[in-house]
Symmetry: C2
Subunit: 299 residues, 2 copies
């Protein structure tokens, strides 16, 4: 499974970056391979200053070694080894009418004395619009649901709710975006073997482009003004707040001495903090904020 | 002491905002009084889009009531009441040649059954330049040292070191800025009565404008280009990282359900995150980064 998923995310990284480069038409992804002194490494792929993408990262990492103390405590195991690999992406489009997207697909194994003792998948995907187009939100969630339904009719509702809970900016009492899917510790059980989980997660990975590309195609050429761009940057401030205050992946990366530039690739290109900024009632900006106050049933 | 320091910070807020308004020549501070449902409140004063100040806040808060659980645990007291007041300021100039400044002066009391059981002062000030002018760094630290020396010849060195330790972006392995002073839990002792601490802290408050105004006067009209502004915004990203990842005041405010817009007034107006940005060797930007790698003895 280790090798199977490892190979899968390499292919997925290639597919996604190929399609995004074509979509962008200007900027190319730069490739930064890196090594982790304790074991493993990764390939960070970054696009900046594009026609379509202002900033984006599609990263693969495969790390192994002694289980860091902080995870060992969480998992209640002592002196274990681990292997973890995953693909993590965030794409921040230039056009404020186009949403930011995030996705992550990961696999974890732990060992004691060389024998496998635990294994699970985790991941998810979520959308962060600056202006709300119902059509986009419905499309994104429909693709999520269709993919989930192929594996278990209960997954969509379950993992959609977990996503709404996870991407919650509690200090603002609002969601980061309009949600998607979030799941973790998906271990083999009576209904799902580890290979069934692999099929589920890889199906989600394969459907990522279907969930996002039609949206970006529709929005990338819409006209916008300086006020729209300012609003995008203010909302991107909230993205920064979530990632630095609440996101477990970011904080985990920092605590385990990860590669800073790869961890922070999720941060937006530009963000603003304007004191007590409140959009005018009934404006498009105000409509978005209202939507973010409580999760919506999109499909 | 409660009333004495409370009145003092009101005056200090008025003096500092008056001088900053004159210095700015364009924008005025807006005043936002707020109340805390559990007891007390504050006056947030904010300046934005000025000639000199791109964004700044000079806030006074005076809060009281049951000691929040999270501080009670830190202080190892149960069921106590508290009173806390302080002035907190951050000024982000428009010109990248001019440094951001932060200062905070605070006083805390705790009570059990109505009787005072503990009291202390805390505070400090520190400077965050985007381009290093030795003259400015020396001036700032000289004012800090002179003020400290009037009260105790050991204070400057002690609190300068604490400041270097506190404003450390550990995940970047660099300082937020070029330091200043940081002190906390300054309780009455053999050498310093609570009134001696008041005299020290108010002396620092009174010397704030001396430490900063000459610097901003020298730098506010220097010419700069888009690259300088970009560098300022990249460095302001590091300011955001410090405040959201490490600053105890910010995290404390969030945990105790403080007024978000007053807490986040410290965040810069604009910030950028450019992937793996490294200034050219021997450039002015590179010189700053080198300086931030280990604390300097400025005076």
């Amino acid at each position: 499974m280790k090798n199977k998923f490892s190979n899968y995310i390499d292919e997925l990284q290639k597919n996604i970056t190929d399609v995004c480069e074509k979509l962008d038409g200007k900027s190319k992804f730069i490739k930064n391979p890196w090594k982790r002194s304790e074991g493993g490494g990764g390939l960070t792929m970054v696009i900046e200053d594009g026609n379509v993408f202002e900033k984006g990262g599609v990263n693969v990492s495969k790390i192994f070694g002694k289980l860091p103390k902080i995870i060992a405590e969480q998992l209640n195991v002592n002196g274990a080894d681990f292997f973890a690999c995953g693909l993590s992406l965030v794409l921040h489009p230039k056009n404020p009418m186009a949403p930011t997207v995030h996705a992550n697909f990961r696999y974890f194994e732990t060992y004691k004395d060389g024998a496998l003792i635990d294994q699970w998948f985790g991941g998810g995907t979520d959308l962060t619009p600056y202006y709300l187009f119902q059509k986009d939100a419905i499309h994104f969630h429909e693709v999520c649901k269709k993919t989930c339904d192929r594996h278990n009719k209960g997954f969509y509702q379950k993992y959609k709710r977990k996503c709404d809970e996870y991407f919650w900016n509690s200090h603002r009492n609002e969601a980061r975006g309009i949600g998607g899917l979030f799941f973790d510790y998906c271990r083999p059980n009576k209904k799902m073997s580890i290979n069934d989980w692999f099929l589920y997660v890889s199906d989600l990975g394969n459907s990522f482009l279907d969930s996002y590309v039609p949206i970006i195609e529709r929005r990338k050429k819409l006209s916008y003004n300086d006020e729209n761009k300012k609003w995008q940057e203010i909302r991107r401030g909230r993205y920064v707040e979530f990632n630095l205050l609440h996101d477990k992946g970011t904080l985990f990366g920092l605590k385990t001495n990860g590669r800073i530039e790869s961890i922070f690739i999720s941060l937006p290109p530009k963000a603003q903090w304007v004191y007590d900024f409140n959009p005018k009632k009934n404006s498009e900006e105000h409509k978005l904020v209202e939507i973010l106050k409580s999760p919506i049933k999109w499909v």
